[in-house]
């Protein structure tokens, strides 16, 4: 689909966790959601929060072609996302989409590890689905604080081999993601999205093992269109907009 501003109806709002909602949306005018790529994001207008002025960038969690649904996994970060999480079913939200670049995928890499932490699991679902459709069964490593903070596990189990690590050891292996035994294996590629310290640790692991690695950044944005130049990341090419040249970057292009 072409980049556009579009009204979506909330088909379902599932509260997965005190801090997370899964919004299932469909375009009011019935536009087909085709060609949305893993790693891309939307800019959501926040109308119901007095303290929110700008749109909020939210990464695309899933696209269901059969029902023409777009899924957004929303984490409460401040007033804007808190208000978005409360959007009742049937309400309209206005999105600009699809924005940003995409994860690079190829069926040549067979041993692929997707690593997600916190709300960073969101883009990994659509990415995993894409890989599976290409004949690559990915391994997925999800990190969380504890058992209760793990999200969308069933959906992830459907697309690949699921591994879990929790900070308190209440599910999966005990510790941060980079301590997980899955890293004992050889991998062709890492894809990672999560808190900055986690992505940096995964990037270090990738460099240590000579593994190709892409990460998805979420620098603070105003426009999402490459106009305001606020969300820049310092790269080997200088400051570039995360919204247009990212959010996905190969770690070789970053200065971490």
């Amino acid at each position: 689909m072409k980049k556009c501003i579009k009204d979506f109806k909330v088909v379902e709002n599932q509260r997965l966790h005190p801090l997370y909602s899964l919004l299932r949306l469909t375009p009011v005018d019935g536009t087909k959601l085709d060609g949305v790529k893993p790693g891309q994001f939307v800019q959501v207008a926040i109308d119901k929060s007095k303290n929110t002025y700008l749109r909020r960038p939210i990464s695309i969690n899933n696209v269901i072609e059969e029902t023409n649904e777009l899924w957004l996994l929303v984490r409460k970060a401040g007033d804007g996302t808190a208000s978005l999480m409360e959007t009742p079913e049937g309400e309209i939200v206005n999105l600009i989409l699809p924005l940003g670049n995409e994860f690079n995928v190829t069926d040549k890499n067979k041993r692929v590890l997707l690593i997600g932490g916190g709300v960073g699991v969101a883009p990994m679902l659509l990415l995993g689905k894409k890989l599976k459709s290409m004949g690559v069964t990915p391994d997925i490593l999800i990190g969380a604080r504890s058992k209760n903070d793990l999200l969308e596990l069933d959906a992830f189990r459907e697309i690949g081999n699921l591994h879990i690590s929790t900070d308190d050891g209440s599910a999966g292996e005990h510790g941060v993601v980079t301590m997980h035994s899955v890293f004992m294996s050889q991998w062709d590629k890492f894809y990672c999205c999560g808190p900055s310290p986690m992505m940096k640790a995964v990037a270090a692991k990738a460099r240590e093992t000579g593994t190709d690695c892409e990460v998805s950044l979420e620098n603070m944005m105003a426009c999402g269109l490459g106009a305001c130049l606020c969300c820049v990341e310092k790269t080997v090419k200088g400051n570039v907009c995360v919204c247009t040249e990212g959010p996905v970057f190969n770690i070789n292009d970053l200065t971490w």
């Binding site: 002025y53 749109r55 269109l225 305001c228 606020c230």
Partner: protein
């Protein structure tokens, strides 16, 4: 049929709606959302003699009804603009205006000379009001001497329309406007951002890498309207109004305060199609009020 055409110096705009520099990229970023040809014109991002990387991240923080930014004039420089961007602009009928910034008077002059020699750009907007650069920028815009110096030099270097963009971070903006007018500016545009600051109290850290930044968005609008009103009374050249225009109603507020044209800035971030809605609203407003020519509305407040 309502006449929406306005003149800024020798520049004819088919309607009074322009875009504010630094909020609209080079225009092409918005062509998925609007027909650029429907705008009166668009002011492309601040261009400097040499490429600039701008300030470190974080450069932006949301504030009540607005945002602070500290981009710091990141751009690829005038030569890149002429070689790579300018040729793409010829596809559009709307008037492109280049916003020019510099650390020294000589920088402004050289950028304007290059634009005059190598392009058909008809107008420049001289930024003497950027609060986010260490040298030049706002320093020229906060004294009558600085404003005069830059305006005089640019006037001699650029044969087309010269618009001088003013800073609100002064005691009396009309004095700066008059200085620009007396040195040959064809118009003044105001306001650039208001200097502001925000602190993350949990981290006890400033929200911006540069500590202070420029406030824009709806929050600044009443300040901007007041300054446009004062300035329009003080000078006889056209005033271009900007500052927190979110919709057509807001645009008319500036025109009624004395602005000949308006610029839409931060609103582009929230609704990339807002500019054409503003054009439509102004036209519809004129019809509803029995106004045949938008020029009749300039400064036309009842008192």
């Amino acid at each position: 049929m309502v006449n929406l055409e306005v003149s800024i110096g020798n520049l004819k705009l088919k309607n009074p709606v322009l875009t504010a520099s630094g909020t609209f990229g080079y225009g092409t970023e918005f062509s998925d959302f609007i027909d650029l040809d429907r705008l009166g014109g668009y002011i492309v991002k601040g261009t400097t003699l040499e490429p600039r990387q701008g300030n470190p991240y974080p450069r932006m923080v949301e504030t009540p009804s607005g945002m602070l930014n500290a981009v710091g004039l990141q751009n690829k420089g005038v030569d890149y603009f002429i070689e790579h961007i300018y040729p793409t602009l010829s596809a559009f009928k709307s008037v492109p205006v280049v916003n020019v910034s510099g650390a020294k008077v000589e920088d402004y002059v050289r950028v304007c000379e290059k634009l005059a020699a190598e392009t058909d750009i008809k107008a420049v907007e001289i930024n003497i009001s950027c609060p986010n650069v260490k040298q030049g920028g706002m320093a020229f815009g906060t004294t009558t001497h600085g404003a005069s110096q830059v305006t005089k030099a640019v006037r001699a270097a650029f044969p087309g329309t010269v618009i001088v963009k003013l800073s609100p971070n002064v005691t009396d903006i009309t004095e700066i406007a008059k200085a620009a007018e007396s040195e040959g500016a064809d118009a003044v545009s105001l306001i650039n951002t208001l200097m502001g600051m925000a602190i993350d109290v949990e981290k006890r850290k400033p929200c911006l890498s540069t500590i202070t930044g420029g406030l824009s968005g709806a929050a600044v609008r009443p300040v901007a309207v007041r300054m446009v009103w004062q300035t329009a009374k003080a000078v006889s050249i056209p005033v271009i109004g900007l500052g927190g225009i979110m919709n057509g109603r807001d645009a008319l507020e500036f025109i009624l305060a004395g602005a000949t044209a308006i610029e839409v800035g931060t609103a582009n971030f929230i609704d990339p199609a807002v500019t054409v809605k503003i054009v439509d609203y102004i036209s519809e407003y004129c019809q509803r009020h029995g106004v045949a020519d938008v020029n009749e509305l300039i400064g036309a407040i009842n008192r």
